[in-house]
Amino acid sequence: KSNTTTIIESTCKTTNYYKFCVSALKSDPRSPTADTKGLASIMVGVGMTNATSTANYIAGNLSATVKDTVLKKVLQDCSEKYALAADSLRLTIQDLDDEAYDYASMHVLAAQDYPNVCRNIFRRVKGLAYPVEIRRREASLRRICGVVSGILDRLVE
């Protein structure tokens, strides 16, 4: 086994999604030269891309298919929440640069909270179903944030 693989594997061991963590990190060209902190940063980057993509998907593709003005407004709000999640992850990267790992954890938690807000917005409007695709994307962002939290725990130790 190469040294890089070992670092990735041992880093991912502390997370709840080992397989996903390993494959996500291995597919980034920066991983082979990264230390644990670097791997955390890469994973946060994966989260930022994911959240931004969801924000765009909701505001674009999904919104284009609906005519109902209430639903359109809800989608707009939801898209904004995913953009805010991406922004919280931007703050996480700043914290990582400063080696302020606890603040990094704090900001990851916040990033993870925003998808809940989107789900709640749907719940607040009677008769609106929470779209399956948003549910899937919510789970996906939660998984990435969970992995970041796991790596951060390792850095704090």
Binding site: K81, E99, A100, D102, Y103, M106, D113, Y114, N120, V156
Partner: protein, 556 residues
């Protein structure tokens, strides 16, 4: 930054919350996990309500305090944001403690907060939004001029007792004023600072107000109220022409852990608060809430012309239980607060927005006589998460017992005469969070006494009795009590907001408030029941009883 990391990781508990959560509230504000205490910097900005609060990101006990942040458009449903203020520089490296927001005349909000410096001295700092076009004001920057106010040898301020700046107000001389809680030996005081530009602050030689003997004044609040009507007034207001304003000074007494207020006049020339006759700013002053309630703070809601009060309610369970359930502390439902027509007390009432959570209404009690010793169950309501309003009418007031002259402490009367002790009139009221066979219940009730023999003056006592609230032994089950300034010839109203482990009770349409925390073992969820009762010697009429099942608020 390494220092920050080391400081924050003095973790007290990293356990994840337990899955079974019978005591988490459904419509009260609480973070997803961990410790919360004081509400901070409440405000409305561009139509969005902001609540910051003292929060421990690392555990369910106090420590590692940051300013957590949530926003809302209705004061009931809340969206979380990343913590807004956390230790980052020498002037707050050991903690970011409580403070307040001020909206400047150009509309820009700023925050004054207490920082703990490397010498563990308490200093006052300013933070302002990084981006004013972000309606959520998610990121805050701290001024390089911090600390703006600090104890030193010249000003003689007690460096370990100098905290909790208020919302600032603008004087006639165009200078800002702010007060900060402090003490010198046993003297509690509100130190005044003034400033032209909000950045360079000068300590006034005299405090706004002080009291010898009451100890540390925490979380002061100072605001005007209009003499007539229930509308709120902006904090810097001098009043409209012909409008008479009074001022309220509120302090949180560190010694007793209660919030007290006095009503009086603000002398703008001398910068002195003068309490009205009958008021003294110490532990004898009236309280916002006679139960568990602390570190409260108001703000002026410019969108709805009202003043809103936030307050923190701590747990009454053991620290071990708090760690086990993974959280500690709730905020009470925000209350509209205004001056009673008498000018002698404040009235508080849950903001109307909470009524939007009401669902199915039960009206099974109307013009019903509650005979001596009777109890009526209110069916059809989710009793663990409900809003109840009941209106009692007492007929034979002359049958009331005469109050003993020595009975001046309402809490003492309530705990000495528990709910099983019959008097002429009372106890009558509600039993909430009750198990089917009353192994557990929390009772909120009235007793009416004659002020003297052959007198037609009466004393109305309101009690909240937690002594039978749970089969579990090690909770704080202190009984609470308050006198309610109402004439019992009129109907007596009692409202209770019941939410799993909290009961907020309002007597006499908000003339007396009692908040309690309880942790039943049997009366949880669907096994929780609600009763109206009368254990006094005389019958009492229930003119009306409305109960609503409450939806959960979205507070993630």
């Amino acid at each position: 930054s390494h220092h920050v990391y080391k400081r924050l990781t003095q973790s007290t508990n990293t356990k994840s919350p337990s899955v079974n959560q019978p005591y988490r509230t459904g419509f009260h504000f609480q973070p997803p996990k961990n410790w919360m205490n004081d509400p901070n910097g409440p405000m409305i900005y561009k139509g969005i309500y902001h609540l910051f609060y003292q929060w421990n990101p690392k555990g369910a006990v106090w420590g590692n305090i940051v300013w957590a942040h949530s926003t809302s458009t209705d004061l009931i449903n809340w969206d979380p944001h990343p913590p807004a203020i956390f230790p980052s520089a020498p002037f707050d490296i050991n903690g970011c403690w409580s403070g307040s927001a001020t909206i400047l005349p150009n509309g820009k909000p700023v925050i004054l907060y207490t920082g703990i410096d490397p010498k563990n001295q308490q200093v006052q700092n300013i933070a302002e939004p990084k981006n004013l076009s972000d309606p959520y004001l998610r990121e805050w920057k701290k001024s390089p001029l911090n600390p703006l106010m600090a104890p030193d040898a010249v000003n003689g301020i007690n460096a370990s007792s100098f905290r909790d700046p208020t919302t600032a107000w603008l004087g006639q001389d165009k200078k800002w004023r702010v007060i900060i809680g402090s003490k010198i030996h046993r003297r509690g005081l509100a130190i005044t600072y003034t400033s032209k530009d909000f950045l360079k602050w000068e300590k006034s030689p005299e405090p706004l107000h002080y009291d010898d003997g009451s100890g540390m004044w925490e979380c002061p609040d100072f605001f005007p109220v209009t003499r007539f009507g229930s509308n709120g007034v902006e904090t810097s207001s001098f009043g409209e022409p012909n409008e008479i304003l009074k001022h309220v000074l509120k302090i949180s007494l560190d010694d007793t852990k209660h919030d007290y207020y006095t009503i009086g006049t603000y002398d703008r020339v001398k910068d002195k608060f003068v309490p009205d006759n009958g008021f003294k700013m110490d532990g004898t002053a009236p309280r916002y809430d006679y139960g568990k309630y602390y570190a409260s703070k108001t703000f002026f809601d410019s969108a709805k012309n009202r003043r809103i009060l936030w307050g923190w309610t701590n747990e009454s369970s053991s620290v071990e239980d708090d760690v086990e359930k993974g959280w500690s502390g709730i905020q009470t439902i925000p209350r509209k607060i205004w001056l009673d027509r008498s000018g002698k007390q404040l009235i508080q009432w849950p903001v109307r927005e909470v009524e939007r959570l009401r669902t199915k209404q039960v009206k099974n009690l109307r013009n019903k006589v509650l005979k001596s010793g009777s109890r009526l169950e209110v069916y059809g309501v989710t009793a663990a998460q409900a809003d109840v309003e009941v209106l009692f009418k007492v007929r034979d007031l002359e049958k009331a017992d005469v109050i003993e002259p020595s009975w001046t402490d309402p809490q003492l009367i309530c705990s000495k005469m528990n709910v099983s002790v019959k008097s002429g009139l009372g106890p009558f009221g509600l039993m909430v969070l009750a198990s089917k066979n009353l192994e557990e219940y929390t009772s909120v009730y009235f007793r009416i006494f004659k002020a003297r023999q052959n007198s037609n003056k009466y004393v109305v006592l309101m009690c909240s009795d937690q002594s039978r609230s749970s089969l579990k032994e090690d909770n704080d089950k202190t009984t609470y009590g308050a006198f309610v300034d109402i004439n019992p010839h009129q109907p007596l109203s009692l409202r209770a907001l019941i939410d799993h482990s909290v009961v907020e009770s309002f007597g006499g349409k908000g003339r007396a408030c009692i908040t309690s925390r309880v942790y039943p073992k049997l009366a949880i969820g669907k096994s929780s029941h609600l009763f109206a009762f009368n254990y006094g010697y005389q019958s009492v009429d229930v003119l009306n009883l409305n109960a609503w099942s409450m939806n959960s608020a979205q507070i993630s």
